[in-house]
Structures are given as C-alpha cells and as structure tokens.
C-alpha cells in the first residue's frame, strides 16, 4: 500500500516494479499480527449470523429458560426433600451446560454447509491466517455459551437462585460452562468434519443426554445405583456443576475446577490434530 507511485498511471496497466516486490506484503499472512483482527472479524460474522437466525435464538434463549422452569417444577420439591438444599444450584448449571452443548450442533452443521457452498475454500485462497477460521469458531462458541449461561442465570434468579460467594466467584461462575462447552464443541466439530450430516445431531444428542441424565445436576449423587456412582461423580458435567455449586452456594472449588480443566484440556488434546486436519481438508475441497 505504502509503495504506490506518486505518478498517476493508467488503470488498465499494472505498474512495473522490478522483482515482483509489490506483491510481497509487509506482514506475513500467518503472523500473529494478522491473526487477532481476522479472528475478531470472523467471530463477529458468526455471531451476527446467529443473532439473525430465529432458530438459534430459540435454542439459545427460549429453550434453556423453559427447560429450567420445567426441571424446577418437576424436581424442585423432591430434591429439596432428599438433599436438604435447593435443587436450583445444580439445575441452573446443568441447563446452561445442556444449552451450550446442544448448541454445538448448530455450529457444526453450519461449518458443514460452509464446506458445501465453498466458503471455506474461498477463505483458504485469500491471504488469511490459517488458524483464523477455527479460532473464530471456538471464540464464537465461547461467547454463545457465556450468553446462554447469563440468560439461564437470570431465569434462575427469578426462581430463587442467589450467589453467596461474592462478585468474583459469580464472574468465575459465568465462565465455567464455556470451559467445558467449547471443548465439547471442538469434539462435535471434529465429528462433523469426518461424518455424514445426519449423524452429527443425533450422536451429539445422545452424548448430551448421557452427560445430562447421569450428572449430579439432574438428581443428587446418592440417588444413582452404587455401580453407576463412580461414573456420575467423575464425568465432566458433574465436575463443572460441582465447581459452580462451590462458586455460588458453597462447597469445594479448587478440586472440581481442576478436574473440569483437565477434562477440557484432555478433550482438546485428543481432538486438536484431527480437527486441524479435517478443517484443512474441508477447506481444500472443491
């Protein structure tokens, strides 16, 4: 840009510059200085698409609210009877997590559609940072899950949910579902890049159902049969709920947070290489 000649040249003819140096950008396309603004632009693109899609809005805002109210009506009294504390401190995190995890389907299917229509291939041939596409997806997922968490928190507040551990704990609380939710989104996206379109929603629903039904947010741990309790106690959704209960009501914080982080990092570690390969393959199709 800065090298343009002061002499006015005809538009039809490219200016002569020896050695083709005019084509060399000052900042290399894979430099981190390119990455940050590009990721922001792409993230805003995804978020803007979601905010204009009624289905995504219903899934993100209406469904969690209705689900939380239904859970509270059905199980509220019973859980209070058997555990002595309000079920909301497990249900609010559970609903936020379920909303975040089912929403991963929307992201995965839209990546598949962008592959079909050739948008990913188009991104591949412009001077863009190679990590930009994937990172913006993950960032958009994180923002979506935080928004869902805040919506669910609002509904929970109306039903009687309160923070007892202060402002800092409340802020940390709002980001806990995103921690595991983004890792699961990466896993769903990996599945989407390597399978047929009909399989992804159903398989994700099954995984979400398993994680939801067999978690301490659905009913208290001692309600499960003995042989199932180890799974219920150590699966990631239970750890996240335990950490969020510690951050809102009371209970241990450090240990469940640590295990949530370990689960998320583990899922990322398993998915990272296939995800990068699959995304690259999808970008170079067609």
């Amino acid at each position: 840009m800065a090298r343009s000649s002061p002499v006015q040249e005809p538009v039809t003819q490219a200016p002569y510059r020896p050695g083709g140096r005019h084509r060399v950008a000052r900042v290399w396309e894979n430099s981190p200085r390119r990455l940050v603004p590009q990721v922001l632009v792409l993230t805003v693109r995804i978020l803007r698409r979601w905010s204009r899609d009624p289905a995504t809005l219903v899934q993100s805002l209406v469904m969690p609210a209705g689900f939380l109210i239904a859970l509270d009506i059905v199980f509220g009294d019973v859980i209070k009877q058997v555990s002595g504390q309000s079920g909301l401190y497990g249900q609010v995190p559970l609903v936020a997590l379920v909303g975040g995890m089912t929403g991963a389907i929307i992201g995965a299917i839209s990546v598949m559609r962008e592959r079909e229509v050739g948008l990913l291939a188009r991104f591949w041939v412009v001077p863009m940072h190679r990590a930009g596409g994937l990172l913006s997806r993950m960032l958009a997922e994180a923002i979506r899950i935080v928004v869902i968490t805040l919506v669910v928190m609002g509904v929970g507040m109306a039903l009687g949910f309160r923070f007892h551990q202060g402002v800092l704990a409340a802020i940390a609380w709002a980001f806990m579902p995103a921690l595991f939710g983004v890792a699961l989104s990466a896993a769903v996206l990996t599945l989407a890049l390597f399978s047929s379109s009909t399989l992804v929603p159903q398989a994700t629903d099954i995984v979400v159902a398993v994680l939801m039904f067999f978690s301490i947010g659905f009913v208290p741990l001692d309600q499960y049969p003995d042989w199932l309790q180890p799974f219920v106690e150590h699966q990631p959704v239970s750890y996240t709920i335990k950490a969020m209960r510690g951050l809102s009501l009371d209970g241990p914080i450090a240990e469940p947070v640590l295990f949530t982080v370990l689960w998320s990092v583990g899922i990322f570690a398993v998915c990272a290489v296939p995800l990068a390969i699959g995304y690259r393959r999808a970008s170079r199709r067609g």
Binding site: D53, P54, A55, T56, V58, Q59, V62, M63, G66, F67, I69, A70, L71, I73, V74, D77, V78, I79, V82, T102, I105, I106, I109, S110, S195, S196, S197, T198, L199, P201, Q202, A203, D205, I206, A209, V210, M212, F213, F214, F218, V219, Q223, Y224, P225, L228
Partner: protein, 277 residues
C-alpha cells in the same frame, strides 16, 4: 398465430408422457429415505438413543419417584413416556430430512417430474413410520429389560401399538411441517426438542399429577403427552388396580389430541407447500 405456435412446438422436443406407476414411485422414494439410514449410522444412533433415554430416566429417578407413583413398579409407570420420547426422536429426524430435502431443492425437482404431488410427502411419512416402528420395538424391549410387562389382552397390546404408531404419524407430519416451513436443517432439532423436553418433564409420565404445584396441575393433566401416557398406561395394564382403565373416557382425549393435531398439521402442510409453489 397458428404458424408460430407450430414452430414453437417443433422446436421443443416432444414425447409421449411416460407411463408412471404411483406405487412404484412411492416405493422408490421410500427406499431412498430408508437405505441411507442403514449405512450412515442413523439406525444405530436411534437404537442407542432409545436405550440411553430408557436408562437415563429410569436409573436416576427410580428411588425418588418410585415411592410416589401408584403402579406396581416404576418401570411399568415410566415406559409409556420413554416410548413417546423415542417416537418423538424419530419425528426429529423426519423433520431434519424434510428440511434437508427442501434446502437441497430435490422437492422442486420432484415438482417438475410426473409424480403425484402427494408422493414425496407420502414416502417421507412411510420412512418416518419405519423409524417409529424401530423406536417402538427398541423402547418396548428396553422397557421389558427394566421390568415393563403387558398385563392386558392381545387386543389391548394391539391397541397399544396402534396408538403409538398413530401418535408417531402425527408427530412425523408435524416434524415434516417444521422442516418444510423452516427450510433450515440446523433449526429443526432445537425447535422439536423444546416441546419434547418441557412437555415430557411437565407430564404425568414421570410422576403423578398431584405431585405438581396446584397452579400447573390443569396444564399437566390435559396436555397431549399426559393424555397419551394415561391411555398407554391403561392399555399396558398393571398387576395392581391403580392403572387407568381402558374406557372411552380415557381413550377419547388421547385420540382427539393425536388425530386433531395430525389433521391441523396436514392442513398447514398443504398451505405451506402450496405457497412454496
């Protein structure tokens, strides 16, 4: 005038309209929907999904809810709801297929071909009934494992299966309608799951109606899922006398919900697909 018309006619290659056999068309289009489910894992996920939902409701809730329900075992009480959830999932994939077909333009292609207008819908519904049958068989099998038994006569068992398939057909039409109307495959699953989860939780399928707060009992008792659960519990019977009886008073509301919702969905479906033309 006549001359120019003649010229146009000769310019367009003309042929006799091919003889078509609607039955064969229906069969071809149905097989087109069914064969991929065997290959792409859809059938497997449906079977696994039914199992997951069976144990997912049964194991955590057995202790808590088992004491407050009236029947001989919680499995006997819960299985109708599990079956309804399974056929609802079948309807979700019906909606997904309808939306995919709509987006990919194959419905427009069909309209340009000598196929009766009803045929694509009919074949999609047949494929949905195939999914419903699988859901019914798998979830009754899962129910049998946890302790669900039929105590009524053969006629009642047939009525049970018939009612489940009728509800399945209604849900399939509704799913197809949502798929056609939204034309957005991503949207279908969330839009179908909202009512599934909320109606499923707030129904008499998990716990009796008197366990709910007073202000919502009217809704819980009369909403379609609860009425279907009552009818299915009656048709399945029980060793105790606590199950609802097979009377017209129990059966009529469930039939009205199923047939009424199905008829309304068919009418809306016709309006939507006519507008698309």
């Amino acid at each position: 005038m006549t001359g120019s018309l003649q010229a146009t006619r000769s310019a367009v290659p003309a042929a006799a309209r091919p003889r078509v056999n609607p039955i064969q068309q229906w069969w071809v289009l149905t097989v087109r929907m069914i064969i991929p489910t065997l290959r792409n894992g859809e059938l497997a996920t449906q079977i696994i999904g039914s199992m997951v939902f069976t144990v997912g409701y049964y194991l955590p809730l057995k202790e808590m809810m088992g004491q407050v329900q009236p029947l001989s075992s919680y499995a006997q009480y819960l299985t109708p709801l599990i079956i309804l959830q399974a056929i609802w999932f079948a309807a979700v994939s019906a909606a997904f297929r309808a939306a995919t077909d709509s987006v990919q333009g194959i419905n427009r292609r069909f309209r340009a071909m000598p196929i009766p207008a009803i045929m694509p819908l009919a074949s999609r519904l047949t494929a949905s009934m195939y999914r419903c049958c699988i859901a019914l068989v798998v979830s009754v099998g899962c129910g049998h494992v946890i302790g669900f038994r039929f105590h009524g006569s053969v006629l009642h068992i047939l009525g049970f299966a018939g009612l489940v398939l009728l509800i399945g057909a209604t849900l399939a039409v509704i799913g197809d309608l949502i798929g056609i109307a939204s034309q957005n495959p991503e949207a279908t699953a969330p839009m179908m799951l909202v009512p599934q989860l909320t109606l499923g939780l707030a129904s008499v399928g998990l716990q009796p109606v008197d366990r709910f707060p007073d202000w919502i009992q009217g809704f819980v008792r009369n909403q379609p899922l609860s009425q279907w659960v009552y009818a299915l519990q009656a048709l399945a019977g029980d060793t105790t006398d606590a199950a609802p009886k097979v009377t017209w008073a129990v059966m009529t509301p469930s039939l009205i919900w199923a047939i009424g919702a199905g008829a309304l969905a068919v009418v809306l479906h016709r309006i939507v697909s006519r507008r698309r033309r």
